[in-house]
């Protein structure tokens, strides 16, 4: 045998033999690489660069690329750790057969090289194939024209390859560390060491409850949109900590309480499920919490960005109700005739016909009055010689002047002229802004479209991660449970009872995170609603609808995953 080719061949063989575990690993690696390439591709795409409002979107895409890279790293580390644990026995056998640790390191190196090559090359091919589709999608949500041509930016390819090369290298080093620490006899024993029953950690449970409660409290009590944005991340961290603690400690406390209740516990249906879950809750809890948090991330990201996107025209009506408009914040009624005069003068000079001209002073948020393009009249009151709307209790006074222009008139020229002229005015404050709203609208469409796109993009990445964790959990537990179910059948459990008990256990494990994720989404609702206000969106009904739709669709997808993995679990257990 050619000695040189021994390790490469052995590595290839072991990848093939462990296909059931390696396939999802490689697939998810490939998909993450493809996603990284695609987001970099969009970030570097020349066609998008010249689109209106592309600046914000490309900045966002750059941020998204970082999230994808970091997340891929975490995902690959997780699956790799799982795979190494499963393969301990095999490595232990090699060790007993005379393979030293440095040989194993070589074997692992080859395996890593194969895995990296498959993920990077496969991912790039997939990414290139999908890139046009993503470009079309992005342009569609940005309401922009699709640039022609098909390009493969070299930098995107290089960045993706380097990022994933680094990820796999780090993983290899982690594996070496793992390998260095274990003793051969432990390698051989591998996963079979009996797990001690977890103790109830009341402190952790209480801590989790407190953290979770604080997170929810923040969300429910925050009143100011700006504060909401600032506190949002604190609340997220609190809820993540709370979820971890509650899943690890709370679930054990709950299950133990259930076991103490003899009438409940000693029934065929509950008996095996409760003790089985209790038995491996320590390991389970982290996985379940991760699934729960990922699901929440998917739900919150997609529902808010979807809502923003659906509400764009709503927002635009409020923010930009005229083609050109001027706000004087913290102004006074005497500013109104001055700005009004500027408008009339510039319209004469530029020879444009102003339409839907509106000029008023108002207190409080602009949106309540200005979105009625023509129906301002009924709100007006005479005060200090000017038209004033609202009440001083609603907030500081602002002056609003705006008009629409004929389709052929140049809004940017007009607004620039007004802007310059208003700066020469002697107003009661310097907070005077003039907007070209036609440009503003396109900008807004494209940046919110970009938001939505990135929400979907990251949402699907998180979803993939959740699916992967669920799959590995089911498969590994299937192998562990196979023996128990053989024994139960010997002791007198019928095939049907076996199925029922499996279903009860699997579905609890599955739907617990889903329910918790839905709860979190509902809990986050008041806070995200406030944050949406920052974007000028105050349509609660729309947001409710979007959230409900997202949760529903997510639940359906999740159920599909459940069915698939549950089937895999049955197949393993039935052997």
């Amino acid at each position: 045998m050619n000695k040189l080719g021994f390790y490469p061949r052995l590595a290839a063989r072991s990848l093939r033999l462990n296909g059931k575990f390696y396939l999802p690993y490689l697939l998810s690696g490939m998909v993450s690489a493809a996603m990284l390439y695609d987001i970099l591709f969009l970030n570097m795409n020349q066609g998008i660069y010249y689109l209106k409002g592309a600046n914000a979107v490309q900045g966002l895409l750059g941020f998204g690329a970082m999230v994808v890279a970091l997340f891929s790293f975490a995902l690959i580390c997780y699956t790799n750790g799982f795979l190494m644990k499963r393969r301990q026995k095999e490595l232990g056998l090699y060790n007993v057969l005379g393979m030293e640790k440095r040989h194993m390191a070589r074997l692992l190196l080859w395996e890593t090289i194969y895995a990296a090559l498959i993920c990077i090359v496969g991912g790039l091919i997939l990414g290139v194939l999908l890139s046009k589709l993503f470009l079309l999608l992005l342009c569609a949500v940005m309401q922009a024209e699709v640039p022609f041509g098909f390009e493969v930016p070299q930098d995107a390819v290089i960045y993706t390859a380097v990022a994933f090369g680094a990820i796999f290298l780090l993983n290899y080093l982690l594996n070496l560390l793992r390998l260095g620490r274990v003793k051969p006899i432990e390698l051989l024993k591998g996963t079979e060491s009996g797990e001690r029953e977890p103790k109830t950690k009341w402190l952790l449970a209480i801590l989790g409850l407190l953290a979770m409660g604080a997170g929810y409290f923040l969300s429910l009590t925050v009143s100011d949109p700006l504060n909401a944005l600032l506190l949002f991340f604190l609340a997220v961290i609190l809820v993540i900590v709370g979820t971890y603690c509650l899943f690890t400690a709370g679930s054990i406390a709950l299950l133990k309480a259930l076991r103490k209740n003899k009438r409940y516990y000693y029934q065929t249906r509950h008996f095996t499920a409760v003790s089985g879950m209790l038995h491996r809750m320590k390991r389970n809890a982290a996985g379940l919490a991760a699934i729960c948090i990922l699901s929440t991330m998917v739900l919150v990201t997609v529902s808010t960005t979807l809502c923003l996107y659906m509400g764009v025209s709503d927002i635009l009506d409020r923010m930009y109700c005229r083609d050109v408009q001027t706000y004087v914040n913290y102004g006074a009624p005497e500013d109104l005739p001055k700005v009004k005069a500027v408008y009339e003068q510039k319209a004469r000079e530029l020879g444009v016909q102003m339409q839907d001209f509106a000029a008023l002073c108002f207190y409080g948020p602009a949106t309540e009055y200005t979105n009625n393009r023509t129906d301002i009249e009924p709100y007006l009151k005479r005060a200090n010689g000017a038209d004033v709307v609202g009440d001083p209790a609603d907030g500081p006074m602002r002056v609003y002047v705006g008009c629409n222009l004929p389709a052929d008139a140049d809004a940017s020229l007009f607004s620039a002229a007004v802007e310059v002229a208003t700066h020469d005015l002697e107003l009661s404050t310097t907070w005077c802004f003039t907007d070209d709203c036609r440009a503003g609208r396109t900008d807004f469409w494209s940046s919110l479209g970009g938001f939505f796109f990135i929400g979907l993009f990251l949402g699907s990445l998180f979803l993939m991660a959740a699916v992967l964790i669920v799959y590995y959990k089911q498969v590994s537990e299937g192998y562990e449970d196979a023996r128990s179910f053989v024994i139960m059948q010997q002791v007198g459990m019928t095939q049907r009872e076996v199925k029922e008990s499996i279903r009860s256990q699997v579905s609890t494990v599955f739907f617990l995170p889903l329910i918790a994720a839905a709860c979190h989404t509902i809990g986050a609702f008041p806070m995200t609603k406030k944050i949406l206000l920052l974007f000028g969106l105050s349509n609660t009904r729309l947001f409710l609808l979007c959230s409900a739709a997202t949760v529903l669709i997510f639940a359906i997808v999740y159920y599909g995953i459940y069915r698939l993995t549950a089937r895999e679990y049955y197949r393993i257990v039935k052997r």
Binding site: Q490, V491, G492
Partner: protein, 255 residues
């Protein structure tokens, strides 16, 4: 009427391609009376396990009949088999087959829970049984905290808690050291003295010497049987060893 009656039992394993079959059991007939303690001995490949699997209704014979309390086990429908097994037969395995997720108490309760009994009744059955087997103090421990002998006694308790007509034991001492084996066999003897029928498959001469009767299985047939009668354990041990020697040398074409 004997408690268990085996008549002309034959089991042929055919390969999937339909080639020549392997005859694991050729023509086995014997009967076990209520209150007996029978050991079945034989080398590996003699058909012991096949016989036990058929007696346990885990496998069906190719021909012949097994009667329990005069009822033909072939007549039990497939879906009633589990319940039948649960109610009439108790099993003890070589490697204990306890569930790690359950305490000793819950492991013992398992068959009763599956039969839908309530907690009070289960507890009432457990206490005297745990007393007999000397596992009173262990009830709240988990299997991984027990020694081999303690595990096997737990398994015996699990097999007996349904009050089965027959206790079937498959190499019960196979994974135990000599001291634990000895104490388990004493437990079997005392259970038998209280009237429990026991059928044990083993290839340990020591284990077999505790039984009241020993059947020798060779090449799928009953080769010989020995009654203990008034003999001591030591005498029985010598007698069984002698029989095995004769049986093994007979294998080499020597009558």
């Amino acid at each position: 009427m004997p408690l268990l009656e085996v008549k002309n039992l034959r089991k042929v394993y055919t390969t999937r391609l339909g080639g020549t079959g392997v005859e694991a059991l050729k023509n086995v007939s014997f009967a076990v009376e209520s209150g007996e303690f029978v050991a079945i001995m034989g080398e590996s490949g003699s058909g012991k396990t096949t016989l036990l699997n058929i007696l346990a209704a885990l496998d069906r014979p190719s021909s012949g009949r097994v009667l329990l309390n005069g009822e033909d086990m072939a007549g039990v429908r497939e879906r009633d088999l589990t319940a039948f097994r649960r109610d009439n037969l108790g099993f003890v395995f070589q490697d204990f087959n306890l569930l790690d997720a359950f305490t000793v108490r819950d492991n013992i309760f398992l068959p009763l829970i599956l039969a839908g009994k309530d907690f009070e009744e289960m507890n009432a059955r457990l206490l005297p049984l745990a007393e007999t087997l000397g596992i009173n103090a262990l009830l709240n421990k988990f299997p991984y905290e027990l020694s081999g002998g303690q595990k096997q006694r737990t398994a015996v308790a699990r097999a007996l808690i349904t009050r089965p007509a027959i206790l079937l034991a498959d190499e019960p001492t196979g994974a135990l050291d000599s001291k634990a084996s000895d104490s388990l066999l004493k437990v079997f003897e005392s259970l038998n003295a209280q009237g429990q029928t026991i059928l044990m498959v083993t290839h340990s001469v020591t284990a077999a010497s505790h039984a009241k009767r020993t059947l020798f299985l060779r090449d799928g047939m009953i080769y010989h049987q020995l009654y203990r009668g008034q003999r001591t354990g030591g005498e029985m041990f010598a007698e069984i060893s002698h029989t095995l020697t004769v049986m093994t040398s007979g294998e080499n074409g020597h009558e």
